[in-house]
Subunit: 131 residues, 2 copies
DNA sequence: CTATTTACCGATTGACTTAGTAGGTTAATG
DNA sequence: CATTAACCTACTAAGTCAATCGGTAAATAG
């Protein structure tokens, strides 16, 4: 299941792409339009800045701004960043400690195949596909 | 992420298919072969019986037995039963209360497309593909 | 210079889920 | 009738999720 972190991140990016006038957009406006708690969005948006999806600017006239063209954001990248991992099973996560059963595991190929399907699907979708 | 409930259920079925000699297999044997706590497997296997994946028999000489041919078990059915739902987002789960934003939601088609991909993938895989 | 706006930051919380464990009772058979 | 095995209810420790609370730092408009 995709959590609110990933889902809200995508909604924020869509909102920003559709309301982009070149200047910074205050989070307050995005939260109001999307009907999401501004306080909670702060946490999410902070991680998006850290992950290079957005740039922020403090003070009056500040807010957040996209730092790429909408077609250069893939959904897969957004979800990987916000969800930590899209891996189907723990042993296929990037930071997984090697599973001792891996060589004899009869289900691993199944999960690996599904993981590839998932990866290819989400990385083939871009922000522009959602506008 | 697929939890142990779904993963162990598949392993149990694989184990039973590979060690099928026509009679009932005690859970103790499966747990020992798979290196999984028998007590925990009890919970999982109980749900598998309730879901029509297995039949159980009490008493001496009892245990569990497959109730179909291995090719008639789809991975999708197993996971749907054990994980409750394979839905990517809550609003696409079978028991979901309708989302008021659904008609205007710009991401719903994305999740729906991915859900279909997931469903088709797992229902196309059968127990025989894992032996 | 100062009031306002806005991002940024850390800690906490309540509800829920996960992966088990503990301790039995019932059913069947050799 | 002793043994084996399924079946059943309850509990728990740890972790995650979706927030909320109460601030501090930075930038600008007037």
């Amino acid at each position: 299941m995709i959590s609110t972190r990933g889902r809200y991140a995508i909604r924020v990016l869509i909102d920003m792409a559709e309301n982009d006038n070149g200047s910074y957009i205050p989070l307050k406006d995005i939260a109001a339009r999307q009907g999401i708690s501004k306080k909670y969005l702060e946490i999410i948006v902070k991680d998006m800045v850290a992950g290079g999806l957005l740039v922020g600017a403090s003070g009056k006239g500040g807010g957040y701004k996209l730092c790429r063209k909408p077609e250069d954001y893939s959904v897969g990248e957004i979800l990987d960043l916000m969800e930590g991992s899209l891996a189907t099973v723990a042993c296929l996560a990037d930071d997984a400690e090697p599973c001792p059963r891996a060589s004899e595991c009869q289900t691993l190929p199944l999960w690996a195949e599904y993981d590839k399907l998932t990866h290819d699907f989400f990385y083939s979708k871009h922000l522009t596909d959602l506008l």
